[in-house]
Symmetry: C2
Subunit: 120 residues, 2 copies
């Protein structure tokens, strides 16, 4: 078994969410607002949002940086954006061999969706 094979990057979203209550249920606390604003910030760049949608919609729900870098920016820029999405908890990643593979962190994205759900 190679050194990198099967090595798991930390799953960043464990325990970090669900945050937060639905937006219409009551005033958001300053602490929850800080957390959620950071997540929305991660999606506030058009290229980052396209990369996020590419990962989310990729066959099998997982994409390598090599699969999704056709967004009109350099590969280092793609990697930078993916890192920001990972740091915000919206993507998880795993290195396998040469490449890092990304997945959407479903609980974090579900928390954002639920927060904006006015029906709840």
């Amino acid at each position: 078994m190679s050194k990198s094979e099967g090595a798991e990057l930390p799953v960043l979203d464990t325990g970090a969410v669900p945050c937060c209550p639905p937006i219409a249920a009551g005033e958001l606390s300053p602490a929850d607002a800080e957390k959620m604003a950071a997540m929305f910030k991660a999606l506030s760049d058009p290229v980052r949002l396209r990369l996020f949608s590419k990962v989310a919609s990729y066959a099998g729900g997982e994409a390598c940086v090599c699969d999704i870098s056709d967004v009109g920016v350099s590969q280092p820029t793609v990697s930078h954006h993916l890192k920001k999405l990972r740091e915000a908890g919206l993507l998880t990643s795993e290195r396998r061999g040469t490449w890092v593979y990304y997945r959407v962190a479903p609980s974090v994205v579900a928390a954002m969706s639920a927060m904006l759900d006015l029906r709840t």
Copy 2:
């Protein structure tokens, strides 16, 4: 009947949305990504997000700047944030007498929630 009683707020978001498809349904187009990124950007500031939740959760679904400015910043800053939320289409506003009243634009917020709904 007073001038303001029973007056309906204009629905400013008609026709502006729904944008966009659910994030897992396929790759977001560059144009849709621009639109959605601007909406997420409007929620990417903690104070702005708190103001948004205050409007959304205010009794009757409508709040005056006078009702919601206790977020630890000056009233001009509050007004600036509310303007940004309005420009992004997330709030609608109506001036009545001295004050401007804000409401959440439900279809815009629903579009953002639906876009992040991984179940669809």
